[in-house]
Amino acid sequence: MTVTAPVARKRSALTKGQLPAFAPYIVLAVALVLGAAILALIGFNAFGWGLVSAILFTIGLVAWSGAVEGGRKAKDRLATCLVVGSFLVALLPLVSVIWTVLVNGLPGIITPGFLTTSMNGVTGSFDNKSVDDGTKVLGGIYHALIGTVQITLLATVISVPVGLLTAVYLVEYGNDRALARAITFFVDVMTGIPSIVAGLFSAAFFFALVGPGTKTGAVAAVALSVLMIPVVVRSSEEMLKIVPNELREAAYALGVRKWRTIVKVVIPTAISGIASGVTLAIARVIGETAPILVTAGFATTINNNVFGGWMASLPTFIYTQILNPTSPSNPGPSSQRAWGAALVLIILVMLLNLGARLIARIFAPKTGR
């Protein structure tokens, strides 16, 4: 009996008719070179190079795959190219925004006193002087930071109870009654309210209630609540809905009253989702400009009282610094401050998101043995 040794082959018979693993890289290199060559003919720019190369890469890889591997594989590669391409296109603006804000905002942020001083007393002559002498830019965003944090906090304190209780009513008590259906409909309508309308509503409301020209942080907070509540209701409602009915029944079967079941079983089970919903709602309103301009006005000084006097906020600070530079002849320092404020705003939103993830992790239903 002879033992047949396995035939030494370079490639398995099972992988016959496949492109080698490095094929996409070859095509990519060729596409990049060809793309550069084509772009050189009509005038080179990076965006066009990327676009042309991507198209060449897709055509080349799909054609090669079709020739060697057959139609099914070629379609697979085409789909992969489209998916990856869409992902890159979606990512492009995000990366671009973060890059631009970082580059333009960092000089502002690292200026000493930027985060700890207000614009009180900073006039155009200071800006002119700093441009002429090359000294540091005076003035900062402390007042705007205080305003944004206080207004957003107050808006959250108003919106979360209202929104969460509405969601509890819809899920636990609504039973698809006429009232529940009406609330759902109006919440959907509220989701689409333009933010300036919310601002005008709040301003008009307080003008009628307190007196004409009432502009305080609280008025702005009410305007932001109008924008936040529907988001909180919607996300909390979805989270409460996915709590399994079995848990409610388990609690009822232990002789637990309905409201206790909701407070101690349903909401804790859904709290991580509710917390991220609330954070998203905050992130949605923290950058609102128009409603704050018409409700809280604009201040250059520190105002720690959310219930009295005009208040600055980061978005309105950016808006006015760009639109009405402190020194009209030298807008550079104003623009630097505006970019710095934009960076701070993005960092705030990012911290909020991280906080939401932390909350979600702390409250998440526990697993493990």
Binding site: E249, G255, P365, K366
Partner: protein, 259 residues
């Protein structure tokens, strides 16, 4: 610590749909009663009327009387919450509270109702209930771990421990073993045998051997056809139901010649 249940002419509705019709049954205290019958015949629906869990579903209602030691559960002004503290329930799928530890799951009936309990009394209650559910030895070293980390059989016994921790008069079990393997099933069945010394146990099961093994009396439910109400066909000692039933339908069902 157990009460008898007497049901008189009970009709169960979902909205206008009559799901179970004309049930009369007398369940003795400190006994195990099994409900058997084909799917959709209303055994679970009927079981849920015994602690007013039925009405949790929108549009569900009942007509007739369910007497717990002579007191009508559906009498005027009876609070369903009071009923449920006396008649506990274990569900088909194990449903421990995912946000709570094993210990907190056992104490759920106490803690969720904000009753004051000292730590010593709580520890004693946890141990007693878990021992009662044959789970103490398996979990005594990890009481602070989440209940959802247990195996399916352990979770179901945890749910039984949770149910007996509120010290009910009656325990209802809705197919408690249908999601469990044979070994866990055996553990739960042993447990049911022990529970009947102290509690009145009513169990719905699809497993006729199980009904024969654990129950003193068996009730056979059947349905005439789709859209027709389920009915109690026969209620007798378990040995009678399985060996010498008086109804043809019962005999067909228990011998597997159904339909």
């Amino acid at each position: 610590m157990s009460k008898r249940i007497d049901v008189k002419d009970l009709n169960v509705y979902y909205g206008n749909f009559l799901a179970v019709e004309g049930v009369n049954i007398n369940i003795e205290a400190k006994s195990v009663t099994a409900f058997i019958g084909p799917s959709g015949c209303g055994k679970s629906t009927f079981l849920r009327t015994l602690n007013r869990m039925h009405e949790v579903l929108p549009g569900a209602r009942v007509e007739g009387e369910v007497l717990l030691d002579g007191d009508n559960l559906y009498g005027h002004g009876v609070d369903p919450v009071t009923v449920r503290t006396q008649v506990g329930m274990v569900f088909q799928r194990p449903n421990p509270f995912p946000t709570m530890s094993i210990r907190d799951n056992v104490l759920a009936g106490v803690k969720l109702n904000n009753k004051k309990i000292t730590k010593g009394a709580a520890d004693a209650l946890v141990e007693k209930s878990l021992r009662g559910a044959n789970l103490w030895n398996e979990v005594k070293d990890r009481l602070e771990k989440p209940g959802s980390g247990l195996s399916g059989g352990q979770q179901q016994r945890l749910c039984i421990a949770r149910a007996i921790a509120v010290e009910p008069q009656v325990i209802l079990m809705d197919e408690p073993c249908s999601a469990l393997d044979p070994i866990s099933t055996l553990a739960v069945e042993d447990l049911i045998n022990e529970l009947k010394d102290e509690y009145t146990v009513v169990i719905v099961t699809h497993n006729m051997q199980q009904a024969a093994r654990v129950s003193d009396k068996t009730a056979f439910f059947n349905i005439a056809g789709t859209g027709k109400p389920g009915k109690l066909i026969e209620f007798a000692d378990t040995t009678t139901i399985f060996n010498n039933p008086s109804q043809k339908a019962t005999e067909d069902y228990v011998s597997g010649r159904f339909g």
